[in-house]
Symmetry: C2
Subunit: 247 residues, 2 copies
DNA sequence: CGACGATTTGAAATCAGTCAAGAGCAGTGG
DNA sequence: CCACTGCTCTTGACTGATTTCAAATCGTCG
């Protein structure tokens, strides 16, 4: 569709609203600089005052926060097309951390430019608002996951969500992917210990629901895994996406 | 400042941005109808397609979702001035429930009017966006609470948050209030059982941190309770509020 | 007074955490 | 080419926080 570095952002916003040519062009014309970062680097730290918003062009990143007792909770995983710190940059002061999981390529967009485009292109503003609301919907689902499902269901739920989101981002199929996280990071996402995650993955594999070798995951029976994980993709608000369910 | 039914909304938005007279007037002029609802009524149900956004004028409401195994997770508590289903109404399809906790008075505002004012008054739009982002920050903190703190800390954290938010909404002081929830509802907010909540409240009382009779809570040592609950109010993004800390 | 929901308390059961140790694997340097 | 190092993964045995089950008490309201 375009040749700008920002086209993954346009693709993503188009999931939420049918932006017209002028709106799309305005997004692509947003001032930005691209750069690469290594795995495990912090993009934003709690208490920072971000001057730029960070669009992920490739690679994976997570949102997390560390409790006073040292426990870490991961809130979401992000991938190509996600403006990973819209929350922090619009709120002006970061209340959580954003950290890369892998090597990433990012585009840094000045926050002022984000505010300006939202004011001058209301549909773009609405689409970005919508995007943060979907983030919030994912936070809620993760709270439910951590609060009210047992360990096995939590693991199954995460595997389903990641598969669907990868497929929607055009990064693979929902049934076969590389999960770019250590079991310790999985544990921090699911509020378990890495030891227990290990046992649950083993259990899911023994039940014939998944196969895995190192980080690669193959889901053998998505329907059944979804049932076990109490996974219902409606919270992802992908109604406008055609192939999501069977990619 | 004004005599419109919507003035609590203006007050709330002013926490986030210094709206000018024209913007404030536009908010107050929003079309709406007010009505009363009884305790435990649903304002929005999961899967609804809300046509109106609901502003709380008095009383309390919660956001929650029910897992397939029957477990319920409450995500946040809402009070005067909160547009309690902005998330659901902007996303068009509700992914969670909103239910009253007490009798409430609400103003119903057509979603179209919300979108229109956001487009025509960018600062109002930004303030509403900001409001949903603060909601999201609260969801994150609750995920951390549920995922990485023990039962006693979770309870302490909730008591601190509720006190601060009541004070900011001008509904009392942070050290002495009526908590409008049963212990079963508290349990659903903290991902515990009501039995265990009961024990934790008893423990906090025995340690001399709080006093309680029925639903009323008096915090005897806010600093210490905050330390136990690992409570740091920065996630509420109240920097612009003067008296929050010592109300 | 009676009834129903909410709270309180105790004892037993369980899911997940902690502790400990070994195995697999990639990168480094001799 | 091989030992060494460090990290992740795996497994087992034990511990413990929270849940479950059961029952009593309290309060409110008709």
């Amino acid at each position: 569709m375009t040749s700008s570095a920002l086209s993954p952002m346009v693709e993503k916003l188009l999931l939420w609203l049918p932006l017209g040519a002028r709106d799309r062009a305005a997004v692509l014309a947003l001032p930005h600089t691209t750069r690469c970062m290594r795995a495990q680097e912090y993009i934003v730290r709690e208490d920072d005052r971000p001057t730029h918003s960070c669009l992920l062009l490739s690679g994976y990143a997570i949102r997390h926060k560390i409790a006073g007792n040292g426990g870490r909770q991961i809130f979401s995983i992000h991938m190509k097309g996600d403006v990973v710190d819209l929350h922090n940059s619009i709120l002006r002061r970061a209340d959580h951390n954003i950290q890369t999981l892998t090597e990433v390529e990012v585009a840094m967009i000045p926050v002022d430019a984000i505010r300006k485009i939202a004011a001058e292109h209301p549909l773009v503003g609405q689409a970005m608002w919508y995007e943060t609301l979907v983030d919030a919907a994912i936070f809620r689902e993760w709270t439910l996951n951590v609060g009210r499902r047992d360990a096995r269901a939590r693991a199954a739920h995460l595997l389903c969500e990641f598969g669907i989101r990868l497929a929607v981002a055009g990064l693979g199929t929902k049934n076969d992917y590389i999960l770019p996280m250590t079991q310790e990071q999985l544990a921090d996402a699911l509020a378990l210990t890495s030891i227990h995650i290990n046992r649950m993955l083993k259990a899911l594999a023994q039940e014939g629901l998944i196969e895995r070798t190192k980080r690669s995951v193959r889901i053998l029976d998505f329907e059944r895994l979804a049932r076990i994980g109490d996974f219902d993709p409606r919270y992802l608000h992908l109604d406008r996406v055609s192939g999501a369910a069977n990619a």
